[in-house]
Symmetry: C2
Subunit: 248 residues, 2 copies
């Protein structure tokens, strides 16, 4: 199994994802929110790259069935039911509903990876579940970090590094891509002070300064949600093991 | 002095470079070639982003005064006098000549940084000269890694990390940008096996596989050229200490 990493999604092409298992990571906060929403029994998340598409999709749905969620510049979009804080996505708020979801970086990255053989969403919250799935499927893997406005984000890079560290059993193969080497090395460098390293990331600093410190505490937990958001027919749903035969 | 790093040049805007000392790095090979050419008494390097601009500039010059140099996809451009191998830029070949120079990544990065207060070109070859200049000038510094087709390159990231390590006297400040943290950590991670780390970079591997192993050996030397390529009036020239008063 080969592993490739994109530290931002800006250059991802169809060829980069075709025939591969692709993991999209946006730790703060889209990936963490998606995992949380599915864990709290949202019916599905429809990730869209822009608000225009969100409105269009919503106009075709029964109003009682969906919620609009997302942010621009970290702030809830005007008129939306929900922002991008995972803590808003409680069972009470979302159970049985479809979330039409658009964020600055995460859902853009997902939309760039739609042509993947398997497209899943990863975060610290569901890291081990992601690793188990990738191992089980056995295809080459591409990890796409959402980053921040086409720049590298430390928290996404570290999450990619953690996944590689587990997939490679702690030992980097001889020749990997520069991006994979950087993500792996970054994790090795910071692994014993991971929480502190993550908290100094620019996005964590912004969230803490803008009233979202609880989101940061929440999103930096590792392996607390055993859910796998799986992209199927334009939406993210919980991957169900019993569907495996037909998926493969 | 604050330090910012761009791991690729793709998102650099005018605001990112304005009022700052900007270092553009393309270790393999544009930065190294530029430093070498000036060390071997080229009159100037005119860096241009595309071949169309190169042809246009050449058409206004006396044919005996200039040489066309550069590459696309690593290969010398058809009809050009020189490619992008620093070893071609001997004193015999270039002394007194102006080089019109265009490469896939490096000269594009330089063109994006033209609005800087001071724009210089850095590589392992002239690393300490760059550090000394930045310290002497005392302005905030922006390091722009050229990368490779808008993706991160290990060798540029490590060179940026080396510069930061020296500028920060080996100790990372409390809060820096994610990109600066990544470049610094990468250098710390690889510093005791720097040559081996650099040789496993994708670009070094490509060059070694395509007959340019000598270029790799040459470009990975540290502090062997005490030259400072300085951008002034659309060209890179040797920075002259005695001009300092007027530059500052």
């Amino acid at each position: 199994m080969k592993a490739e990493v994109f530290l931002t999604s800006s250059t991802v092409t169809e060829d980069d994802v075709k025939g591969r298992t692709v993991i999209v990571i946006d730790v703060l906060r889209a990936s963490s929110t998606i995992a949380t929403a599915l864990n709290n029994w949202a019916r599905a998340i429809v990730p869209v790259a822009d608000t225009g598409s969100a409105t269009k999709i919503a106009s075709n749905l029964d109003q009682s069935g969906y919620l609009l969620g997302g942010e621009r510049g970290g702030i809830k979009i005007q008129g939306y039911h929900l922002g991008n804080s995972p803590l808003e996505y409680t069972q009470e708020a979302i159970e049985g509903r479809t979330i039409i979801f658009t964020t600055t970086n995460g859902t853009v990255a997902i939309s760039r990876a739609r042509g993947a053989e398997h497209l899943i969403v990863g975060s610290f919250l569901n890291a081990q579940r992601v690793v188990d799935f990738v191992r089980q499927i056995g295809l080459d893997v591409t990890i796409i970090c959402a980053g921040w406005r086409n720049r590298v984000s430390l928290e996404d890079t570290l999450c990619a590094g953690l996944l590689l560290h587990r997939l490679w059993d702690g030992r980097e193969p001889d020749l990997v891509s520069d991006s994979a080497h950087i993500a792996f090395s970054q994790y090795v460098h910071d692994q014993h002070n991971l929480d502190a390293a993550l908290r100094r990331s620019n996005q964590a600093q912004w969230l803490m300064a803008n009233g979202y410190a609880d989101d940061v505490d929440y999103c930096l937990q590792t392996d607390v949600l055993p859910v796998l958001p799986y992209y199927k027919e334009n939406r993210l749903v919980l991957y169900k093991e019993y569907e495996q035969a037909s998926v493969l």
